[in-house]
């Protein structure tokens, strides 16, 4: 990299604080013309916040942005586009009922008097599409096109506005592997013609395939730069999921008992026909924690929802203590002794507008002692709330405070309190500590180990490798809907699990 090239974009010490989270902590980087710069990081690492600041959707608290060496004030997306910075969001901003050309020119219509100059517009779209190898049918209705082509329309939309920098936010998340390969070819073509690209992702393979430079973000900070030619996927995974606070969980060796959960040959496809679960079989024994590691979006969510009855299964079987629970309604599964901490605390685990008291009986409200005859037994519900708030150290002014007004850690404690105090045999914890403070993390980790020691089978799903390694007695790794390896904790090194997470199969003798 020559030093005298003026960076297309330079970011200095960008800091953004949200209530309770430091989303961006003094982030600096440069983007050179003609390069593809990948930003790697987990959900919540601060990638999206950073990009939204660049695109003028958020105001940074601190720091400055230089475009072509000049200080830039970006107050809204129109400013960003005016300065030559475009963005393709995860959710496309296309009008399904208009044609490709109409979508591209929307808002910047070429006019001939009061009339749309359709011919010239369509001519320009054709030129752009040829110049960058972005094949699109200019007169097709956008809603009829496959997702991959819609994405090209989004890219053309930015190019039509003469941007020279393009942010692609998780562009491969919705693409098939073939479509992703096409996208990479286009990205290379754009870079070769001098455009600067920012590529946001958490998929390691893609980064190594397409990026010129990699910046890894974790918890709002830049934790490292890497050269895709020399960095291994294992190293990248460690950088991405590693944590500066080493979590120590006091626990003794597991004392596994009988099989509690027996999952056999689960297969599932999504709406687009892509494989989500690929012949998944696992056993979880009483008194052990089976940790499922894996980059997010590799089928963990669906696996957990299948076990808890929230996801219908076309094939495979799930047994709890020898009893078939495949495709049973969620309540029947819960009643057979399954506790479940869902990954989406606010959307699934709680009713944010309800009081803590009501949330604490969300899954047991209909049973004695909370319901007596036809009506609620308020003293019992109040007593339950008082007891659980004390036992689980929920920091709240009162039991009638709404769950929505609490911090993430305290919200999670409500869920843990509710789920752990039923008579359970199996505990499923999905991302149990995502986005919460260190104190609450420690508390919840200790609670999980306590449950294990009480003889429960625990299935832990986490995108935080450290969490899995700290809690699990065995580690299963999921990749593309498949269990690609199950390791006893003693053999589960960060390197080995990291490679499996990246989809790199072990040598036959490595097992």
């Amino acid at each position: 990299m020559t030093a005298n090239v003026v960076p297309a974009l330079e970011v200095r010490n960008i800091t953004k604080q949200f209530p309770g989270v430091l989303a961006n902590d003094h982030i600096s980087f440069t983007l050179l013309p003609g390069e593809i710069h990948a930003f790697l990081g987990e959900n919540g690492a601060g990638k999206s916040t950073l990009m939204n600041i660049l695109y003028g959707l958020y105001d940074p608290d601190e720091g400055e942005i230089l475009i072509n060496g000049k200080l830039a004030k970006i107050k809204n997306p129109a400013d960003a586009i005016g300065l030559g910075l475009g963005m393709v969001h995860q959710e496309y901003a296309l009008v399904d009922t208009l044609t490709v050309t109409e979508n591209i020119i929307l808002g910047t219509e070429l006019r001939k008097g009061p009339v749309l100059n359709a011919k010239e517009a369509s001519q320009r779209v054709r030129e752009l599409s040829e110049q960058y190898g972005l094949a699109v049918p200019p007169d097709a209705i956008v809603g009829d096109l496959p997702v991959g082509v819609q994405q090209r329309v989004e890219i053309l939309k930015a190019l039509y506005r003469n941007v020279n920098m393009l942010i692609l936010d998780e562009p491969t998340a919705v693409l098939t592997p073939q479509e992703a390969d096409d996208l990479f070819r286009v990205m290379r073509e754009l870079a070769d013609q001098g455009k600067a690209l920012i590529f946001i992702t958490h998929k390691l393979r893609e980064v190594r395939e397409v990026a010129d430079r990699i910046t890894v973000l974790r918890r709002g900070k830049v934790v490292g730069d890497a050269d895709p030619k020399t960095a291994s996927e294992g190293q990248l995974a460690a950088l991405m999921v590693g944590r500066d606070v080493v979590l120590k969980v006091d626990k003794t060796a597991a004392n596994p008992g009988d099989v509690v959960l027996k999952v056999r040959n689960l297969n599932l496809r999504d709406d687009r026909g892509l494989t989500v679960l690929d012949d998944v079989s696992i056993d979880v024994h009483a008194g052990e924690v089976l940790g499922i590691a894996g980059v997010q979006g590799n089928g963990q969510t669906e696996l957990v929802e299948a076990i808890t009855g929230l996801q219908a299964l076309p094939s495979g079987s799930i047994e709890l203590l020898g009893k078939d629970i495949t495709n049973r309604p969620p309540r029947s599964i819960t009643e057979q002794g399954v506790a479940y901490i869902p990954e989406d605390r606010k959307g699934t685990g709680l009713v944010l507008g309800y009081s803590i008291r009501d949330n604490l009986v969300l899954s047991t409200y209909y049973k004695p002692p909370f319901t007596k005859g036809l009506t609620f037994n308020d003293p019992a519900i109040d007593e339950n709330a008082k007891e659980l708030i004390a036992t689980f150290d929920v920091r709240t002014p009162s039991a009638t405070t709404t769950a929505g007004s609490l911090s993430g850690g305290n919200q999670q404690k409500i869920i843990v309190a509710r789920e752990f105090t039923r008579k359970n045999r199996l505990l499923i914890a999905s991302q149990p500590t995502r986005g919460i403070d260190v104190g609450s993390i420690e508390f919840i980790h200790n609670q999980i180990i306590k449950q294990r020691d009480a003889g429960l089978a625990v299935l832990l799903v986490s995108a935080e490798l450290d969490e899995v390694l700290a809690l699990a007695d065995r580690v299963a790794v999921m990749y593309h809907g498949k269990i690609v390896g199950i390791l006893p904790i003693a053999e589960a090194t960060r390197e080995r699990v990291g490679l499996l997470m990246a989809g790199i199969q072990e040598q036959p003798n490595g097992k």
């Binding site: 969620p330 309540r331 309800y354 969300l362 009506t375």
Partner: protein, 442 residues
């Protein structure tokens, strides 16, 4: 453990609004609807002020006044007087002329009679708002309820080949028939929503049309009273009627030979009231729905499905069952509204039966923010407006349509409550929003 120090500070923040919020909770909830009503009435007054009919004012004469605007200004005292009399007319129509005490019972009775179906149908809509559904079908459910009850109330004895049935059988049967007919008319869109995702707004609108046509068909067909010139059913049997509370004895020559029941008989015109047991049923239902929504697991499920269907599913609640149940309950309440009109007030079913009661009930549920208790004042307000409108027209010559303007303005200010909050500088209450429109976006 750095957060240990942070946490207490954080909890402090949420402590502060707590005491005041609890003590004046209901007031916080009610302030926007009350101000919406006030604003609508004030705007209504302005409209009266500028649009007073000519015959109530000195005629405009160029030689006397010089110009139109001078005429306007010189008539201001007169305009104020007429505007005031419009509202006193409205009041005395609804609650009686308090300088003539003998008018009070009839006026209040009329207001309560108007309000009865509003309470029941308003509750019906409120239940679905709570469940995150938008039941526009109260009108159709009400018609079906009316049809069901009139069928049983007018024809049941002849199905069994008897002249009459004892009231202990016939009255409950008529009530039940109306409730079931309305309930089924609610269950249909509920089931379609839960099983196929067909939006209840669309299906209930369609079912309103179907109900209207079914009613038309039956009233002109098998249920038509052949001896009557009007398009209507025969009078119901006296044993199937909800008793009036206090009135003169019925004149059988006006009621197809039936002597309808009352709790107290009077000979005084002052106490010859139309108010009937429907109002008691309505209050019972208010209590029942409050109890159901706040004290029982079923109500908890309805509210949870409305607040957060994902969480409801996760907690093991049946979304399908709850949606169908809430729509069924809603239909049953609307059906009861129709039933009480037929067997308590009208004693037969005419082609021009409902005149939009079911649609007004949407407004009442909105005004009450779906709170079952608040439905009562909201419905009374609506009923009072409708009852008072007639007296106002007589007193001032102001068209009854003014009432519709006021009603429309109330709804506009409730729906766009930001306008009211802006006018009166009220801060958004935390968590005070209603979720009735949740299902629109899906």
């Amino acid at each position: 453990m750095a957060n240990e120090q942070q946490a207490p500070a954080e909890t402090k923040k949420t402590t502060e609004p707590q005491p005041s919020k609890r003590r004046f909770g209901w007031l916080n909830e009610a302030i926007v609807p009350l101000l919406a009503i006030l604003t609508a009435v004030l705007i209504g007054a302005v409209i009266v002020f500028v649009s007073i009919p000519g015959n109530k004012l000195p005629t405009f004469d160029l030689n006397i006044y010089g110009s139109r605007s001078d005429w306007f200004f010189s008539t201001i005292p007169e305009r104020l007087r007429v505007t005031l009399s419009a509202f006193t007319g409205l009041f005395s129509g609804a609650f009686g002329d308090w300088t003539k005490p003998s008018t009070i019972p009839v006026a209040i009775s009329n207001t309560l009679v108007e309000s009865t179906p509003y309470i029941l149908a308003g509750l019906a809509v409120a239940v679905t708002f709570k469940a995150g559904l938008f039941n526009v079908g109260a009108e159709g459910q009400l018609l079906m309820g009316a049809l069901g009850s009139v069928a049983v109330a007018a024809f049941m004895p002849q199905w069994f080949g008897v002249a009459s049935l004892p009231a202990i059988i016939h009255l409950p049967a008529a009530l039940l028939a109306g409730v079931i007919a309305g309930g089924l008319w609610g269950i249909i869109p509920g089931y379609l929503r839960a099983k196929t995702g067909a939006h209840e707004v669309i299906t209930t609108i369609m079912l309103n049309y179907i109900a209207l046509q079914v009613m038309d068909y039956l009233i002109n067909g098998v249920m038509k009273d052949k001896s009557a010139t009007l398009q209507r059913t025969p009078f119901i049997h006296e044993n199937a009627a909800l008793p009036r509370i206090i009135s003169k004895a019925t004149d059988p020559s006006l009621t197809g030979g039936q002597a309808y029941p009352r709790l107290f008989t009077t000979t005084s015109s002052t106490w010859d009231l139309r108010i009937h047991m429907g109002i008691v049923l309505a209050f019972l239902m208010v209590g029942f729905i409050w109890w159901l929504m706040n004290r029982t697991p079923k109500g908890f499920e309805i509210k949870t499905v409305g607040e957060n269907p994902e969480a409801a599913r996760y907690a093991g609640m049946s979304i399908t069952g709850t949606v169908v149940g809430a729509m069924g309950l809603s239909g049953a309440l609307a059906g009861l509204a129709g039933t009480s009109q037929v067997i308590g007030l009208e004693y037969n079913l005419k082609a021009v039966f409902s005149s939009g009661l079911g649609f007004d009930s949407l407004a009442i549920a909105l005004l009450a923010k779906s709170n079952p208790i608040a439905i009562v004042p909201a419905a009374l307000f609506w009923g009072a407006l409708r009852t008072g409108a007639g007296a106002m027209q007589v007193n001032t010559g102001i068209s009854i349509n003014l009432i519709q303007i006021i009603q429309a303005l109330v709804i506009m200010f409730i729906a766009a409550d930001q306008i009211v909050r802006w006018i009166y500088r009220i801060k958004q209450a935390e968590g005070g929003k209603i979720t009735f429109n949740r299902s629109w976006g899906k």
